[in-house]
């Protein structure tokens, strides 16, 4: 029982002192409003290259919101200090609450749409953390997630709307767009932009069909509910619609949507309020109802509606926030918020009772309160508009329900016989008593001291309806002087209050209709998402190789067909450079022979030889087509591969014949081959673009001091790519690390038949091959060679030693452990790029120095360092594999 805890009623604690911050802002704002005429505007450069600046502009409408944000923020912090005293992690809530306040200030003062969007989304994000503050409670987590998804999703729609507005008007400025009505109205993209804007604003302001998240967000602590979900954040949608109202007020779609959705929301939420038993949720429903009324008022085309929006918005904030505080006080003192149990609390909680009655007075629109003025202005706006009958009666019902809800919150729970279980209930702490009283009193005060606030509200209304006579904030006729709307509303409201229980029971019978509501749709979508993801993952990521290949081949065929179709079914019958190239034909025949033979060979050694034939054929093709570097690389790789693979062959044992769907596989393979052929044939029929090749050839010598263009591309022009590639090679060796373990201590000597002759020459051959590698490395920049080819020669040398003497001696002859060597290589390549950075050029810009040595200068550069890095990286990584494979064989025999 929290009421029994003496500490819970102790005076204001740390949190309350944070109220100084918003209070200071509030005071500065009031002083500024008195001293400096509106609008205030300015800009701070932020991302000039994208045209995004922190443009801010405060005229009367934002000023009104700023007063509410800082003013109510002050009492919210005061209240939170009492409400959250002795709550663990309250500091986290204060922090997020401050961030939220900053984001709110950002939304209403921003003039740049993208800045506004950022702050808008920030309010959604912070609201997620605030609603989910009690994160151990599953319901709170679900509510927080729901609020986040709905409002963030709406925010995305809003961003799209903003981009469309920008494309239509060419401006990111909110007030410029609000003044470009004719331009917007003439554009065909306007309906799409408006639809997106509506989604953004309706989600934030909980309009039908997005109304369901707001009552659920009541699982937040009460200070949060009072601040976010009644006074400030949920009014952002209203704010934005009001800001843009001048541009669209004359449009039929604007009026139809806003009046329609607003009326539906207001009436439906008022009905749903009758179904609730939780006092806080009843208030939340009535908030949704009020937001619907505001939406409807914005949609009204007449000038008087602007003042009605402003006045009602202000009045609502001033009575709904205290009522939430009252609900929080009751919850805090009694431990329940259910109106089934709450009665007669006035004897135990007199201060809270006074606050509730004052706020209830304003909510019911009774005299002496600002709510009375607001209701009268709203009534005037309605009578000035040409409303459909349904809307008029709907509004009458909504207003009457407001009276009934006010009566529930201010009379029902405080009067009547008190439950005996509440005997020990005591009034809450001062930090919680004062805030509702303060705001409720402010609501009364503005009725009696109109001089301070009225000019600002009228100015704000003029922002919504520029150049129009918005009317006065005054009561048109005194209370009780006749049977006017106010009195009729009051009478119906009293009747609704009397029949509350009966209506509640009757509506309870319709609960089964909830299955079809938007909340149910939301839940179904949320539940369906992981199912779709799981289905999609299982369909695509099933882990069966043939399935992946099938997909790849299908994509290849589609790509080939699409390319062919786009290019107009070309055929390379007249490819001139192909004539008389018998050398290419010979190489291609080697490739084809190996490829045709491979699938039919069951013996593994024979299969490897067939693949080797394809490799050597490719090398020959490279050589004949003017690519000596590539040809050398391919030769070296093929040699190493055949050596390595035959070494590992025994590990795979005898080949068994498995039953396979070979017809299906052959068809798939044929399809892949056909797709490749179509793609290639189409490519060769089209003219080639040699601009890149020409550029590299022309700049190779003057800029990179190299005559071998291929090597220059690898180590200089595209050095960053190469750096990435050797890093991949290094990481593949790291991935095989677990497979390389135990290289040292499993050495058992040579068990294969000894090759005496080879043993004699191997030691010498090793050093000769390394010398050749060094020579290839050094000459690579100007002649065929370079780091990759040199490394493959070195790998072959290592493999030779490993075959003849065993893997361990081979490893001992390496300068470092293989993977360390590879890592050092990548590091060296990285370091070679740094001197360029030091001299103020981009990373991997190579530097050249000429060392005067004899007659001709000897050229020295960071390129050599880079190529050396490539050499070590590839040598280390591939040597690691070769040693591991050979070691694996040793272990097995």
């Amino acid at each position: 029982m929290r009421s029994d805890d003496p500490e819970a009623r102790s005076g204001p604690v740390s949190g309350s002192w944070l109220a100084v911050l918003p209070l200071g802002l509030f005071a500065a704002l009031v002083w500024g409003l008195a001293a400096v005429p509106l609008p205030w505007h300015g800009t701070v450069s932020w991302v000039p290259s994208l045209g995004v600046n922190l443009d801010w502009r405060v005229d009367a409408l934002p000023a009104q919101f700023l007063l509410l944000i800082t003013g109510i923020g002050t009492v919210v912090f005061l209240y939170a200090g009492g409400y959250l005293a002795h709550t663990p992690r309250a500091g986290r809530l204060y922090g997020v609450l401050l961030l939220f306040m900053a984001a709110m200030i950002g939304v209403v003062s921003a003039d740049h749409l993208l800045v506004l969007f950022l702050c808008w989304e920030l309010t959604s994000l912070t609201s997620f953390f605030l609603v989910g503050f009690k994160h151990t409670d599953a319901a709170a987590r679900a509510s927080a997630r729901q609020a986040l998804f709905v409002t963030l999703g709406g925010g995305l729609a809003l961003l799209a709307a903003f981009i469309l507005f920008h494309q239509i008007t060419g401006s990111w400025s909110l007030h410029t767009i609000a003044a470009s009505g004719p331009l917007l109205a003439a554009d065909p993209r306007l309906p799409a932009a408006l639809a997106l804007l509506f989604i953004g604003c309706f989600t934030k302001s909980a309009q039908f069909p997005f109304h369901f998240w707001l009552p659920n967000a009541m699982s937040a602590p009460t200070p949060v509910s009072a601040y976010l979900h009644s006074a400030t954040m949920v009014k952002l949608g209203i704010y934005l619609l009001a800001r843009l109202d001048p541009a669209f007020n004359d449009l039929l779609i604007w009026e139809a949507v806003l009046v329609g959705v607003g009326t539906l929301t207001a009436v439906w939420a008022a009905v749903l309020a009758l179904r609730e038993r939780d006092l806080k949720r009843i208030l939340a429903r009535s908030t949704v109802s009020a937001l619907g009324t505001l939406t409807l008022l914005i949609g009204l085309p007449n000038d008087g509606a602007a003042l009605a929006v402003i006045a009602f918005l202000f009045a609502h904030a001033l009575y709904k926030a205290p009522l939430f505080f009252v609900a929080g006080n009751i919850d805090h003192a009694t431990g329940t918020r259910s109106i089934d149990h709450l009665m007669g609390l006035r004897r135990r909680m007199p201060w809270t009772t006074v606050a509730a009655v004052l706020a209830g007075l304003s909510m019911a629109g009774l005299p002496l309160s600002f709510g009375y003025v607001a209701k009268d202005v709203v009534g005037a706006a309605k009578s000035g508009a040409d409303l459909v009958v349904v809307v008029s009666y709907g509004l009458l019902f909504v207003n009457a329900m407001a009276v009934a809800v006010a009566a529930v919150a201010a009379i029902r729970v405080f009067w009547g016989p008190m439950s005996p279980s509440f005997e020990k209930v005591r009034e809450v702490s001062w930090a919680m008593r004062l805030p509702p009283l303060l705001i409720a009193l402010a609501g009364l005060e503005f009725e009696f001291l109109p001089r301070f606030i009225d000019p600002l509200l009228i100015q704000a209304a003029q922002v919504m309806a520029p150049g129009a006579d918005v009317g006065r904030l005054a009561v048109s006729h005194p209370f009780g002087s006749g049977f006017t709307a106010v009195e009729v509303t009051l009478a119906i409201g009293v009747v609704l209050f009397m029949f509350w229980e009966r209506l509640h029971r009757w509506l309870g019978r319709l609960a089964h209709l909830d299955r079809f509501g938007p909340a149910a749709v939301f839940d179904a979508l949320l539940g369906g998402l992981p199912r779709v993801a799981a289905w999609h993952t299982r369909t695509l990521q099933h882990g069966a190789l043939d399935g992946y290949l099938r997909l790849t081949v299908a994509a290849l065929l589609a790509l080939g067909a699409a390319g062919w179709w786009v290019a107009g079914f070309p055929w390379p019958s007249t490819y001139p450079a192909g004539a008389g190239r018998w050398d290419l034909v010979a190489a291609a025949t080697l490739i084809a022979a190996g490829a045709v033979a491979a699938p039919f060979l069951r013996d593994r050694l024979a299969l490897l030889m067939a693949v080797g034939l394809v490799g050597y054929g490719s090398a020959a093709l490279f050589l004949f087509a003017g690519a000596p570097d590539v040809a050398f690389t391919q030769f070296a790789v093929e040699t190493a591969l055949v050596v390595v693979a035959s070494a590992v062959l025994p590990r795979y044992g005898r080949a068994l014949r498995y039953a396979e769907p070979w017809v299906r596989n052959a068809l798939l393979a044929a399809a892949a081959g056909f797709g490749t052929f179509v793609l290639l044939a189409g490519m060769f029929a089209l003219p080639t673009d040699t601009s890149l090749a020409g550029w590299f050839a022309a700049h190779s010598l003057p800029e990179a001091h190299g005559r071998n263009v291929v090597n220059v591309i690898l180590v200089d022009f595209r050095a960053l790519d190469t750096l990435g590639e050797i890093t991949v090679v290094l990481f593949s060796a790291l991935a095989a690390w677990p497979l390389l373990r135990g290289l040292g201590h499993r050495e058992r000597g040579v068990t294969t038949p000894r090759a005496v002759m080879l043993e004699r020459v191997a030691g010498a051959a090793y050093w000769i091959m390394l010398a050749a590698a060094a020579w290839l490395l050094l000459r690579g920049h100007n002649a065929p060679g370079g780091g990759f080819i040199a490394a493959l020669v070195a790998v072959a040398a290592t493999a030779l030693i490993a075959i003849v003497y065993g893997p361990l001696p081979a490893r001992r002859r390496l300068p470092l452990r293989p993977v360390t060597l590879a890592a050092m290589g990548v590091l060296l390549a990285l370091l070679s790029g740094l001197p360029g950075v030091v001299t103020g050029q981009p990373f991997l810009t190579h530097l050249w120095w000429t060392v005067p040595l004899g007659g001709a200068g000897f050229k020295l550069s960071t390129v050599l360092l880079f190529d050396l890095g490539v050499f070590f990286a590839v040598w280390g990584a591939l040597a690691a594999y070769v040693l591991a494979l050979l070691n694996d064989r040793e272990e097995g025999t």
């Binding site: 450079a577 034909v585 699938p599 693949v611 393979a669 081959g673 060769f684 060796a733 095989a736 490394a791």
Partner: protein, 128 residues
């Protein structure tokens, strides 16, 4: 004539795909290597193979030869060959270990690591 070259490349692709679809682990590895080599050929063919002259600048002149081969395709293929070799080595090591651990070189027998799904959303749990 060029069509024969292109056809040879396509045959290599088809052979690679066919071998990779096999149930024999070794044939799968070799098939992937063949497929990789064939794709390298496709990339190389994008340089058109029009010239026999390597893209080297003669010592006598600083100007590039008028009809040298495309250096860009060569640079792409050169690194691709080395990476394919690293991948192939990795696959061979992995395959050898896999065969020793599972005692089979049937690709379908290796599917034990991915049991059939029971729950519509949660992934199946692996047995230790």
């Amino acid at each position: 004539m060029i069509l024969w070259v292109l056809m040879a490349v396509s045959i290599a692709v088809a052979a690679g795909v066919y071998l990779a679809l096999s149930r024999d682990l070794f044939r799968v590895v070799v098939g992937l290597a063949l497929l990789g080599a064939a794709v390298n050929l496709v990339v190389f063919a994008a340089g058109r193979m029009a010239s026999r002259t390597p893209p080297l600048l003669a010592a006598a002149s600083d100007a590039p030869a008028a009809a040298a081969a495309d250096p860009l395709a060569q640079a792409l293929v050169l690194t691709a060959i080395v990476i394919s070799f690293a991948l192939l080595c990795f696959a061979l090591v992995l395959g050898a270990r896999l065969r020793r651990v599972s005692g089979s070189d049937d690709v379908r027998a290796q599917r034990a690591a991915e049991p059939a799904a029971v729950d519509p959303v949660k992934p199946p749990e692996l047995e230790d």
